[in-house]
């Protein structure tokens, strides 16, 4: 174990996979010579050369599409899109091309590619640089979605993403980038599709992921509520077993995430839980998410729009006490 930041942990995971498999290579804006806007790829070009760590023009649609082609030609590309907000210029490549290729080919063709990106608010980055857009990647089937909440998972999940034979979107949160934690030395892989029980509890199951896991823990502190906190880690595939086991234990469920409520992960889980476990529920499944408005710039506004420990605590109370 070594203490390192979230960013350093991803860097370690990338190195682990670059060392392991010569077909792994990376492409993105300012990732090579500069070492990445958020330092995720720091030093990689120096180790692996400027072809395997490739700087690209500001052409997300182009290079995400090229990642698909390289994957079909036998490589394991890892493309970085600097902010998840910028995936929108590449959406056709994600949804019409990458997500559908394996299925459309009748399973003949594999698409082992990873896109790492960074999202989230709380920093005054305003409407076009603060989004969490994971739900957009869940509505259209075919892309695995990973949202790590801590450095150890970040290392292990990025490795699993790269080893997976499918397209994986790996979403960092800007509030977590500098957060430190203990990370296993040596080979470390955290399987996709497995949730993590952060804490056991008896009053309520709280499902979350990414930075909100931290906020949920803050909300529970001193609340007097025994909350079972489940870090989903992977949103597609979902760890339904972990979800249903927890709900069957606590009979109350809250989903907390930072992206917008409408057609988001929260309503998705809430709907599935009530549809499959209706008789287990002692209270409506509740969603605590961003308000359905663009992310405002001013702090006073952003704090109202995004989940905060206070808002989460209020939601917990509502679910537990009705």
């Amino acid at each position: 174990m070594s203490e390192m930041t979230f960013v350093q942990a991803i860097n370690a995971g990338l190195r682990q996979e670059l060392d392991r498999d010569p077909d792994v290579f990376m492409m993105g804006e300012d990732i090579a010579h500069y070492g990445g806007m958020f330092r995720v790829t720091e030093g990689l070009m120096e180790t692996y050369g400027e072809k395997r760590i490739l700087d690209t023009p500001i052409s997300e649609s182009g290079f995400v599409g090229m990642a698909l082609g390289a994957a079909l030609a036998g490589k394991r590309p890892v493309a970085e899109v600097m902010f998840i907000d910028f995936t929108l210029v590449a959406m056709d490549q994600f949804h019409n091309q990458i997500a559908k290729t394996h299925y459309m080919s009748g399973g003949r063709v594999k698409v082992p590619l990873t896109v790492i990106t960074q999202g989230g608010g709380y920093k005054g980055a305003a409407a076009q640089h603060s989004q969490m857009l994971e739900a957009l990647f869940l509505q259209v089937p075919g892309i695995k979605v990973v949202c790590p909440s801590n450095p150890a998972d970040a290392k292990g999940l990025v490795a699993a993403a790269i080893r997976d034979d499918n397209p994986v979107l790996f979403i960092e949160h800007k509030q977590l980038l500098g957060v430190k934690g203990e990370v296993p030395d040596g080979e470390h892989v955290v399987p996709l599709g497995k949730a993590n029980v952060v804490s056991l509890g008896t009053d309520i199951s709280i499902f979350s992921y990414s930075y909100c896991v931290t906020l949920v823990q803050q909300a529970l502190e001193g609340s007097g509520v025994s909350g079972e906190v489940i870090d989903l880690r992977t949103l597609n595939p979902l760890d339904w077993d972990a979800i249903s086991a927890s709900v069957k234990r606590t009979h109350r469920a809250l989903i907390v995430h930072e992206s917008h409520a409408r057609c988001g992960v929260g309503v998705d889980l809430a709907s599935q839980i009530q549809e499959r476990l209706f008789d287990e529920l002692d209270a409506p499944v509740t969603v605590c998410a961003a308000a359905d408005v663009p992310i405002p710039f001013a702090k006073s506004l952003e704090d109202i729009v995004l989940p905060t420990p206070e808002r989460i605590r209020a939601a917990i109370k509502k679910v537990v006490h009705g």
């Binding site: 290579f25 072809k51 395997r52 490739l54 690209t56 023009p57 052409s59 649609s61 182009g62 290079f63 995400v64 599409g65 090229m66 990642a67 698909l68 082609g69 390289a70 994957a71 079909l72 030609a73 036998g74 490589k75 590309p77 056709d92 490549q93 019409n96 091309q97 559908k100 290729t101 394996h102 299925y103 459309m104 080919s105 009748g106 399973g107 003949r108 063709v109 594999k110 698409v111 082992p112 089937p141 075919g142 695995k144 034979d165 499918n166 595939p237």
Partner: protein, 309 residues
């Protein structure tokens, strides 16, 4: 170097496939849109002859000609177009979504320009690994106005990738002529500005297409970078089965191009040698269609699998 007979065979096979599919479509036995390429057959025939089996290819909804010329199995392709369980992609893809890595086919595509990045990425893979495989991507004149394609032009030039951009300039994008969609109708000039070598040829002459693509392939194999090729051609039928192709073009214009049809031209060259080839291909294709029709539909259980590997 392929001979007139070889090109003729490719082209009549393609024509036979289209004729059979048209019949099926009219009879309601074919689902989805059918984008014909009658009049354009020389481009796939000439271009694919310049490629190796392990070279990569992406093309469009109008891509079945390339797919066949690249060497894919006729029966598997026809069965896929008919949505059969034993089709190339088990009936899941359909004719706009054909894949076969064995022949370097990384996809036909339903999105204008959607497969261009795929081809450039395959060329990137070849470049990264120091291989001599090249990638070719085929698209139309109208596709140059799609942003994604422009991003790809730049990156191909920047990294000097072994990729060939083959543009079938058939003067129309669906029903819109070049002049009403391009601020500058000189397509080579548009693409040359990215730092890409350009070339041009009569797209109705398979020999010229073959030579032009061969030059580009040679450059690419020698790491001299990408080439954009404009092959001037014309589709003598409509954009797809529901378009007669007459509302936006004069009868004269279509007639002139029908006269330039590459199949008719090669028939003159080959004389009596043509007929048996045509008969053979027509029979072979008819057989493929007849036997494909008897193949089973995909089993319901297949619908929900293969989202992930």
């Amino acid at each position: 170097m392929p001979q007139a007979e070889d090109f003729y065979r490719q082209m009549v096979r393609l024509r036979a496939v289209e004729n059979e599919l048209t019949k099926l479509s009219q009879a309601g036995q074919l689902r989805g849109s059918l984008h014909l390429c009658q009049g354009q057959e020389a481009v796939p025939a000439g271009a694919c002859a310049a490629l190796r089996q392990d070279d990569y290819l992406t093309c469009t909804y109008r891509g079945h000609g390339y797919v066949l010329a690249k060497g894919l199995d006729l029966d598997l392709v026809i069965r896929e177009i008919l949505g059969k369980a034993t089709g190339l992609c088990h009936g899941k893809g359909g004719k706009m979504h054909l894949f076969d890595q064995e022949f370097g086919l990384l996809g036909t595509n339903g999105i204008v320009g959607g497969g261009v990045g795929t081809a450039v990425g395959a060329a990137l893979a070849s470049w990264l690994d120091g291989k001599d495989q090249v990638a070719m991507t085929v698209f139309g004149d109208g596709t140059i106005n799609q942003g994604h394609v422009n991003e790809c032009f730049n990156m191909a030039a920047l990294y000097k990738l072994p990729v060939i951009f083959l543009c079938e300039n058939n003067l129309y994008a669906e029903m819109t002529p070049l002049e009403r969609s391009h601020g500058n109708t000189d397509l080579c000039a548009r693409v040359a500005s990215f730092g890409i070598k350009t070339d041009k040829c009569d797209g109705n002459d398979p020999f010229l297409v073959y030579e032009t693509v061969s030059r580009a392939v040679e450059r690419a194999r020698k790491s001299e970078g990408p080439t954009f090729i404009e092959a001037l051609t014309y589709r003598t039928t409509g954009h797809y089965q529901a378009d007669a192709g007459t509302a936006y073009r004069t009868a004269e214009e279509v007639a002139i191009w029908r006269d330039k049809s590459p199949i008719a031209k090669l028939e003159k060259v080959l004389g009596k040698a043509a007929e048996p080839i045509a008969a053979e291909e027509e029979e072979r294709v008819a057989l493929a269609v007849q036997s494909a029709l008897k193949e089973p539909d995909p089993d319901l259980s297949a619908a929900l699998t293969e989202v992930f590997a």
